[in-house]
Symmetry: C2
Subunit: 196 residues, 2 copies
DNA sequence: CTACTATTAGTACCAGGTACTAATATATAA
DNA sequence: TTATATATTAGTACCTGGTACTAATAGTAG
């Protein structure tokens, strides 16, 4: 059966094509694969691949959700506990986009982002910005692991706060950082002190 | 004309609704706003708002692109120059998703991510991971500004490298960091030294 | 030659629209 | 009060990108 081979390879191509570009109509697929539109539809259906509009929606929803969780909110991770000006806890699950493809190890800046945003969120002020930080990655964090960051405000004189954050996976410390965070009332105060 | 007022407020509502949820049909909008579907369509057209399917596509494409640029590549920002093991330069333009909505100031972890990923990319090894870092945010970076990060490998003994990164906006330094980066051959070597 | 698989064709239908025409309020000015 | 302009609603023809189904045709294996 030559047919079966043709069919299989075509379906593999189809899957590959839709994989790298989900925004393509059955008609276009039919043209490229040089089969009829019905064949494409049959293939899609036997393979359980939804229609264009559904695919676009999936991408839109998924991507929008990820965008929100990555860069939308002021906080990276999910806030579990917060006492303004005192301490806070957040949870971050390491997803595929956060890791190096080669190793499955989370890129450092995601852990940093979780810790930093938690430190900033802790400060009870109109506006708070990180001035300096000393950080330490103690162990690589892997895809799928859940990182719990615990932040504590150590000292706060006026507009200047020191927040320490320790992040752990199942009680094993993976990250530690000390953040100097500056609070700003509302307007005007110069940023000269910012870097000090 | 009471009508005009009604129309205006309705259109404002419409815009707001579509703003926080673009995935809604004209029919649903008509139900909520208690007008006919034609009125919703007229409103959309006079306001230049595209139909549902086009909106979904926009979100899908835009979000997919942003996802790629935010978390897809190993490097945050655009690589301008790279001499493996020696130095590198990258450019990051501050977009809306990177800033605090209230102030328009870039959240620190984006600058960190640019610097960190550049430092790691600089290391000529199979795998490289950040161990520790001291960083300093010297001036807030605002929406739309272009941040150029320059990284230099200062010393490298075996698997351990010190990379300094300074980021600037138009020759004004906004960020400085010193990264201790660990290189790993391929497999096996223990992570014990990782945090040292 | 027959049975079976793969492919193609065609039709009716659907959602969520566009584009257009026309009828019906509603209010405002003359 | 009436003419006029604006706002709203109704209705129709048509479009894209499909689903779901039926039927015809081509090619292959036994």
């Amino acid at each position: 059966m030559v047919r079966t081979v043709k069919k299989q390879t075509r379906q593999e191509k189809l899957r590959a094509m839709l994989n790298d570009n989900p925004f393509i109509t059955d008609g276009a697929l039919a043209d490229i694969l040089e089969v009829s539109i019905q064949t494409v539809r049959l293939d899609r259906q036997t393979m359980g691949i939804p229609e264009l509009r559904a695919r676009v929606q999936e991408v839109a929803e998924g991507a929008a959700a990820k965008l929100k969780s990555l860069s939308g909110p002021e906080l990276v991770g999910e806030l579990l506990d917060l006492e303004l000006g005192i301490r806070g806890i957040s949870l971050l699950e390491v997803t595929g986009e956060m890791v190096f493809a080669k190793t499955g190890v989370a890129r450092g800046h995601h852990l940093f982002a979780q810790a930093n945003s938690l430190a900033v969120a802790l400060i009870d002020a109109e506006v708070a910005l990180t001035g300096t930080a000393q950080i330490r990655f103690k162990r690589p964090v892997l895809l799928g692991e859940k990182v719990i960051a615990r932040a504590v405000v150590n000292s706060g004189k006026g507009q200047r706060f020191v927040v320490t954050v320790t992040s752990s996976v199942k009680d094993e410390e993976v990250f530690a950082g000390e953040f100097m965070v500056f609070a700003k009332g509302s307007e005007g105060e110069q940023w000269d002190a910012y870097s000090s």
